[in-house]
């Protein structure tokens, strides 16, 4: 009996070139599928398991050290944002904080807005631009924000010049655990955050449960 098992094992091993590569590949694929299934069924936090959010990244401009570009402190307020990769070309409405201290949102679903009490885009600090993902009936200005990937270009008009940013990362956060210090904290260079909504829609509060934050740095 034992010798038959050994013989079978020897045969299997002799023929390993037939099955080893496809077999291992299949096992790996099954493992990856299992992981994907687990992540997909892990509720609203699934996206957050993709890695810890980080503030600063290489933007792919290899071999080049970035310090600061122009001095934008004397430039007019920002008026427009362009994101060619996802077809955004929108006016920028000025936003402040509401009575509860929360960031206001644009009243026009087709307009993005910038936090006008905060850092102006291009100056040292985290400039903030927000836009709706949808209205009650249709996609809105930042509906495709989730499609941005590291390296994508974001341009903000100040006067007749454009401040250029490059995406470094995009992260989903439950609104109940919004990473305030990471998004609004001070920075050593000119950065930009684009914010919109997503995740589950809660009909009771008429609000999505998550925020998508795209982090970018001036480039």
């Amino acid at each position: 009996m034992i010798s038959r098992i050994l013989t079978a094992a020897a045969t299997l091993w002799r023929d390993r070139r037939r099955w080893l590569l496809p077999g291992v590949t299949t096992l790996v694929a099954l493992a990856v599928t299992g992981t994907g299934w687990w992540a997909a069924t892990d509720g609203p936090l699934a996206g957050l398991r993709q890695g810890k959010p980080t503030t600063w990244h290489d933007t792919g401009a290899a071999k080049r050290v970035h310090t600061s570009t122009g001095d934008w402190s004397a430039a007019p307020d920002p008026t427009r944002v362009r994101i060619p990769e996802i077809g955004v070309d929108s006016p920028l409405d000025p936003l402040g904080l509401d009575a509860k201290g929360a960031l206001e949102v644009p009243t026009n679903y087709d307009h993005a807005g910038w936090y006008a009490d905060g850092t102006p885009p291009g100056e040292q600090g985290p400039a903030v631009i927000v836009g709706h993902v949808d209205s009650q009936s249709a996609p809105a200005v930042f509906h495709r924000l989730y499609q941005l990937v590291p390296g994508d270009l974001i341009e903000v008009a100040r006067g007749d010049r454009w401040v250029r940013f490059r995406v470094v990362s995009a992260q989903w956060y439950p609104k109940a655990q919004f990473p305030t210090a990471l998004v609004y904290g001070p920075t050593p260079d000119a950065q930009l955050r684009l914010i919109t909504c997503g995740g589950q829609f809660d009909p009771a509060s008429r609000s999505y449960l998550d925020n998508l934050v795209v982090f970018a740095v001036e480039s």
Partner: protein, 294 residues
């Protein structure tokens, strides 16, 4: 036979493709998420002449950077750098890049961290010190300040507000204090040499949510010179909570996300493709055996 060979090749090609996708996926993800940190350079050695500072990467992550004619009291802006190790070297201003540096050091840049690499001490015992800068948001709407003490004329000094509140005591030459949380506002700051001597004052505007280094150097006029340097800045109040940017019009009937929210389906699709490729490889490999049997 040629049919068998081509089938064998097909099987190998399929499995190789599948394996290469498995191999490539994590690499691409790592490259996309490649993190950055920040380094700035400072000359804080009172009797060291001007230097050229070189910043280079042993791995070629950046081309060599050179900062010419850096003098006592000079502090560069932050350089955004991919994480990794970098070499910092100082040569006398104008010296050939091929000559031996006066001094060198290595700085390892971690993701999201910031460092000040400073030439400190007297020229006779010049050292390059790596100071980690804590740029995190100060709590409770306050500001953060630390002292970088580069005055040899006042080798030990105290820093306090005009109102008498102490910010730091007994700060020795060539040392740096930890960051201290302070009330934001326009302060008159006194610098008092420990052994007596003339105090110096400066007006320091510490803004809410900002992080500063107060750099103290010897001024040519025999006094102390202090500069409040913003390490990390921001403006305006800190918004509370998340942002309400959706009306729900594109939410699916079950309330699911408009576009993109779950990252998992994309990886599931990739896994599905891999599974299909792997199975195809097995099928082809299995069929290879039929001619031999018959």
């Amino acid at each position: 036979m040629s049919v068998t060979t081509s089938r064998r090749l097909a099987a190998v090609a399929l499995t190789a493709l599948a394996v290469s996708i498995v191999d490539a996926a994590p690499v691409a993800a790592a490259a996309a998420a490649a993190d950055n940190g920040y380094v700035r350079l400072a000359h804080l050695s009172p009797d060291t002449p001007r230097v050229d500072v070189y910043l280079s990467s042993p791995t070629g992550a950046i081309g060599e950077q050179r900062f010419n004619g850096v003098g006592y009291g000079d502090v560069s802006g932050y350089n955004r750098l991919p994480t990794g190790s970098y070499a910092v070297a100082m040569r006398a201003a104008g010296a050939s890049p091929t000559t031996d540096p006066v001094i060198t050091t290595q700085v390892t840049v971690a993701a999201g961290r910031a460092y000040t690499v400073a030439g400190v001490g007297r020229f006779a015992d010049l050292g390059l010190r790596i100071i980690e800068d804590d740029l995190a948001l100060p709590p409770g709407g306050k500001a953060k300040v630390r002292i970088i003490q580069a005055s040899v004329r006042a080798p030990v000094l105290g820093v306090s507000t005009a109102a008498g509140q102490s910010i730091a005591t007994d700060v020795a030459f060539a040392t740096t204090t930890p960051y201290r949380v302070v009330e934001p506002g326009l302060w008159t700051v006194n610098l008092q040499p420990a052994g007596g001597g003339k105090p110096s004052t400066l007006r320091a505007n510490c803004r809410s949510g900002n992080v500063y280094s107060l750099i103290v150097v010897d001024a040519p006029d025999g006094r102390l010179k202090a500069e409040l340097r913003p390490d990390a800045t921001r403006e305006g109040g800190i918004p509370v909570g998340g942002v309400d940017t959706g009306g729900g019009g594109t939410a699916a009937r079950d309330g699911a996300a408009p576009g993109g929210k779950p990252v998992a389906p994309a990886s599931s699709m990739l896994a599905g493709a891999l599974l299909a490729l792997g199975l195809a490889g097995v099928v082809v490999a299995t069929r290879l055996r039929r001619p031999r049997r018959s």
